[in-house]
Amino acid sequence: TLVARSLLANDFQEELVIRPLHSGDIYASFQFRTLWETDFMRENKVSHYRLFPKSLGQVISKFSVRELHISFTQGYWRTMQWGQPFLPSPPGAELWVWFQDSVTDVDAAWKELTNVLSGIFCASLNFIDSTNTVQPSASFKPLGIVNETDHRFLRYATLPREIVCTENLTPWKKLLPCGSKAGLAVLLKSEKLFHSSFFSQTVHIRPVCQDRECKTTSWELRQTLNVVFDLHTSGQGKREWSLFKMFSRTLTEACPLASSSKIYIDVTDNPQEEYFELSPATPLLSQAVVLGDRRTFSVYDLTQQLFKSVSDLLPAGSMLRPLLHAERYVAGYGLQTGEIHTVMYNNHPFRSFPVLLLDSVPWYLRLYIHTLTVTSKGKDNTPSYIHYQPSKDRMRPHLLEMLVQLPPHSVTEVTVQFERALLKWTEYTPDPNHGFYVGSSVISALVPSSVAMDTNITQEQPLFSSFFPCKEESSYFVRVYTEPLLVNLPTPDFSMPYNVICLTCTVVAVGYGSLYNLLTRSFQIEEPNPRLAKKIANFIRRIRGVPLLS
């Protein structure tokens, strides 16, 4: 019975949500969740892994990790055209980790953890060091079960320059119980996935409640993959798309290890089947409240029937306008100074809500915090909480966290001036004229919702609506990322050391060398070798005994 219970406590669910967007793109979101009731932190090491991948289990127990969130993203999520994503992620790589209370040296554990993860995911995460790691003081609260939150155990870092390609997708697919051989992961073919407007793959590990009473916890591993396909560039002039056209693969069977394997198609904009038809049709409809909106989905359970295609897709009516979105850009001219502007839009007609803005700027952009201004509707808007940690050259980046109240239907602008630093010659990358990246700002907010949110935690809830824990019914939590910035630093001429060496050596050789020669060498006059005719004449003269020619 003991063995049976531990086996039952291992659960794997997979789901795919397809939502046609108003701009004509298609948003596909894969979610794979493994639940395991075990205790990684006890003395006897866990040795038998069934559905949970061993590499991640060993990482959790070795580094005493409480929560781990890592994402690799290519492209930028356009909130105004596409709405809010189910799971937001910034361009590049992002890693934030909560460690257990028992860890004594968090920085050493963080450094080793980034190296191990760089080996698991084939990414250059080993470039995460103290110059781009910050410790937020109010953002990034734990998403899982926790006793108390002490921000000393939190670390956050982004690598905006990180490229995502097949070599990151391959180890990610290997973490799934069925691999890429059965179930929904069969659709993940890299040639189609990377030929898209947006691609993001994430791994989230956290302890969760098992049921409503929440007396026991289990470890949850969620792997999500979000991709937005642009029908026009992928050659879909016709108004018909199918799984094969999107992914160039068809579904064969559900993963035998999965307890549930479902596909949800968002049909909210198609109530009477007037815009598009699903084939094969399904009578199963379900409603879910996600991101403050009640949406209707057609459900396909893969254990019973397979989904194929949708025909006649027309862009539907008006989209629910996202209530919060943000932009960021660099203003100014020249290579000495500049200004960072972060613009936040609150589109709610009558409600205002607070947002927490987290900015992490590298040390080589020296921020002048006395020039920080926050204005809404032209008037000054003082933040109710500011936490600023200044940077240390080559050691620590700037950290700026502010709690700003956004008035209804307004635009709030945060500006700060900066000065660019000159790096040492060896600190430049091999392609310095590309520019240097500044990571995205993170804006966390509790946005008021027009629809009552579900605060119950049940197993029947679809995965995409149960990621962020919901504490109250009237608002939902959302995280918005801005664009990363690309700034040019003053770049030296890298051929100058070579030029200087050549010039100095030439001057020394010519100047000193000739002087040395003049001073130390003695000169003697030497008879040149006589010509052949003269030699013969001298020889004959010698025989004759006559004086020689000179």
């Binding site: 219970r5 390609c165 040639e191 607070p354 504490k471």
Partner: protein
């Protein structure tokens, strides 16, 4: 005279017989010596490095990936391959077909594949990291996939490609590795017993200069061009817009596509790859440091991974599984999730307790100065009021 001749004749015959016996003995000895020196490696490793950055150096990445593909196909697993690519061509925004790297025109062969694992990429491909991988002197937190964990029974294949010159190879347009450094790295590997035999292939301009300075035993080297010659690229693809492969590696790939794990081709066939008519440059090779005869070395000794399998008929008894007793007591504690944005808590957050540091030298000096000036002006009698 005839007697002398007759005696010399018999002497000649004797000498001939002795010579014949000696030759037979030599041949026999050669066979046993051949068996004695036949390859005694037990595992195979490969280190494949592309050193060029930027989109117009697409062909160097394609070179490295085609050798990677051949080596994987012939049996070396990903855990035994260290692949270093200095730039990303497959998911580069200029690539009209993302997640692909082609080696043949008209996009016939995608050498990038579906399950590639790149160990060092982008800015990580530096001379220092390359030498550290070869010599094994890596920081302790380096993961296994980034290490070359070879031993004295390993055959290692090292493939370098990029832009080079007489005596150096350029890494990422910002630094170089010289042939002396490379030779010293191999000597370190030999002294630390990190290889059994090493095959070094280089496809750059003036590639033969890179193996001139080797002095460690058991190294065989091939290069795509001699000193003073340039290695040329093969063919451009008009849709992608760049040259896809270098000539030497293109014909090397075609040669390797015919090899399968059981093939008996040897190194002499490899030396004949890409003659001057196809390559325009003259490929060179160096075998004087190698103990075995190149004709007896199989291609799969370096490019493949032939493992010796021993079949046993014994039965193995497994122990009973270890059962961990689950804690049966009912937890009275109820867990809960945390508020994601506790506004009031954040506003009233106490500032972090900063560690107390002793005052700075400057501050101490300033205060000492102020105190001195004070006591100088107002006299020492005020001191008793303070102490």
């Amino acid at each position: 005279m005839s007697a002398l001749l007759k005696r010399s004749c018999s002497h000649n015959m004797l000498a001939a017989i002795i010579m014949l016996i000696f030759i037979c003995f030599c041949v026999h000895f050669q066979n046993t010596a051949g068996q004695f020196f036949s390859s005694g490696h037990t595992n195979n490793w490969a280190v494949l490095v592309c050193t060029s950055r930027f989109w117009f150096n697409y062909r160097h990445v394609a070179n490295t990936l085609s050798v990677y593909r051949s080596v994987k196909r012939l049996g070396i697993p990903d855990s035994h391959i260290v692949l270093m690519l200095a730039d990303d061509m497959a998911c580069n925004h200029r690539n009209p077909k993302p997640a692909t790297v082609f080696s043949h025109r008209n996009m016939e062969l995608n050498v990038y594949g579906d399950d590639v694992e790149v160990d060092y990429r982008g800015y990580e491909v530096t001379v220092e990291n390359f030498l550290r991988v070869l010599t094994g002197r890596l920081p302790p937190s380096t993961p296994r996939s980034k290490r070359l964990l070879s031993d004295d029974r390993s055959n290692i294949l090292i493939y370098l490609t990029g832009h080079g010159g007489n005596g150096f190879l350029k890494f990422q347009d910002s630094e170089e590795i010289s042939n002396v450094e490379l030779a010293d790295a191999f000597e370190q590997m030999w002294q630390k017993r990190r290889y059994n035999e090493l095959l070094f292939i280089i496809d750059t301009c003036q590639g033969a200069s890179m193996y001139e300075r080797f002095y460690s035993p058991n190294i065989m080297a091939l290069a795509s061009s001699q000193v003073g010659e340039d290695s040329l690229s093969h063919q451009p693809d008009l849709a992608i817009g760049v040259h896809l492969m270098d000539r030497y590696t293109f014909y090397l790939l075609e040669f390797l596509e015919d090899i399968h794990p059981a093939s008996k081709s040897n190194m002499n066939d490899l030396f004949k790859v890409c003659p001057k008519s196809q390559c325009v440059s003259t490929p060179g090779h160096r075998t004087d440091l190698f103990l075995r005869d190149p004709g007896s070395v199989l291609i799969t000794d370096f490019f493949g991974s032939v493992r010796k399998v021993e079949i046993t008929m014994e039965a193995i008894h497994l122990t009973d599984p270890i059962l961990h007793p689950m804690s049966e007591e009912v937890q009275e504690k109820t867990y809960s999730y945390v508020d994601q944005l506790p506004v009031s808590e954040i506003i009233h957050q106490k500032p972090k307790q900063k560690d107390w540091h002793p005052p700075d030298g400057f501050i101490l000096g300033l205060w000492t100065l102020i105190l001195l000036v004070f006591f100088k002006t107002y006299g020492i009698k005020h001191l008793k009021h303070i102490f």
